[in-house]
């Protein structure tokens, strides 16, 4: 078994009102970042887990996302990276 570090992005699904994202976008516009078109505020998780190979570690984390880490009704997730921990 090898230890892997997996980064996960969880963000509000497109089409679902994200008032935090809107507030941040508005603040960025006020600061002069007028080119900003959209901001979504979500969560970034870093998970260390033991697995036989990187694909198994990733599969395991996808299962965690489906069962707990992301809400399937309102959120999307993506595995942002798998590296040896």
């Amino acid at each position: 078994m090898t230890r892997y570090r997996i980064a996960v992005h969880i963000v509000p699904r497109k089409g679902i009102l994200d008032p935090q994202g809107e507030a941040v976008a508005s603040a960025l516009h006020s600061l002069g970042f007028g080119s900003v078109r959209d901001v979504r505020v979500g969560r970034h998780l870093i998970i260390d887990t033991d697995a036989s190979e990187p694909t198994a570690a990733e599969r395991n984390v996808r299962d965690m996302c489906a069962k707990l880490l992301a809400n399937p009704v309102t959120e999307d997730y993506e595995i942002a990276g798998v590296t040896p921990a």
Binding site: P12, I16, L17, P19, Q20, A23, R43, L68, L69, N71, V73, T74
Partner: protein, 230 residues
């Protein structure tokens, strides 16, 4: 007929709920501990308000995996009544006993205020003591009460009469101004398809005595008492 009130770590309306059903309603009530696997003969399970597990990850997401939830889910699947108030509503959505999800209030502010509700379905285990369209005064106190569901899901809720309570103005109109959290279609409370699980964001247990400012919440518990056999 016995009410069972579950305490999770971070529940803070369990005492109020116990008092409402036990002292005010005069019903048999028992406290249930989240780590137990025993509903102690409760006919109605109540998941009370609060901030179970600190609302970590998402409100209700971790409480859903508390040991007692296995029995609560079985209880609900058998068709027995489950009532989720505020955080309890969030837990029921996370546990997929109710459809949809509850998101951060649209204005990002914690909403602690009195609201007016309209009863849009009185043919349920939880609302049979109210009149159709009756207006109720109850308090709300939550940061994550914006109910959302996909358009097909909303249509199913409407067709099935599952939307039981809506936030309205004093005249009974469901308008954006009377919506305290941005909930889709002003939804404040809904039942599952079978009608035995109710989740609502307002606090009926805080509106059971005149000294509290309203007795309009009592009808929820009286309805259960009237319908659920001993």
């Amino acid at each position: 007929m016995r009410f069972g009130i579950v305490t999770f770590p971070g529940s803070n309306c369990d005492d109020d709920t116990y008092q409402a059903v036990s002292d005010v309603l005069g019903a048999d009530a028992v406290r249930l501990w989240h780590k137990d696997h025993d509903l102690q003969g409760a006919d109605v399970v109540v998941l009370p308000g609060g901030f179970s597990y600190g609302d970590y990850l998402r409100a209700g997401a971790i409480a859903r995996f508390s040991p007692i939830m296995r029995e609560v889910v079985e209880h609900a699947r058998r068709g027995a009544p489950v009532l989720g108030i505020c955080n309890g509503f969030q837990i029921l959505c996370e546990a997929h006993l109710l459809p949809g999800a509850l998101l951060r209030n649209a204005n990002l502010m914690f909403a602690s205020e009195w609201v007016t509700l309209r009863v849009d379905n009185v043919d349920t285990l939880f609302t049979n003591q109210y009149r159709p369209g009756q207006l109720l005064r109850m308090p709300i106190a939550h940061g994550d009460g914006r109910f959302t569901i996909d358009p097909d899901g909303l249509a199913r809720l409407e067709d099935g009469g599952q939307i039981v309570l809506r936030y309205v103005d004093r005249e009974g109109g469901a308008r954006p101004e009377s919506n305290p959290n941005g909930a889709l279609d002003n939804i404040a409370g809904l039942v599952n398809e079978n009608g035995n699980v109710l989740g609502l964001m307002p606090h009926p247990e805080r509106a059971v005595e005149a000294v509290l400012g309203s007795t309009d919440g009592l009808g929820v518990f009286e309805s259960l008492l009237a319908r659920v056999a001993a």
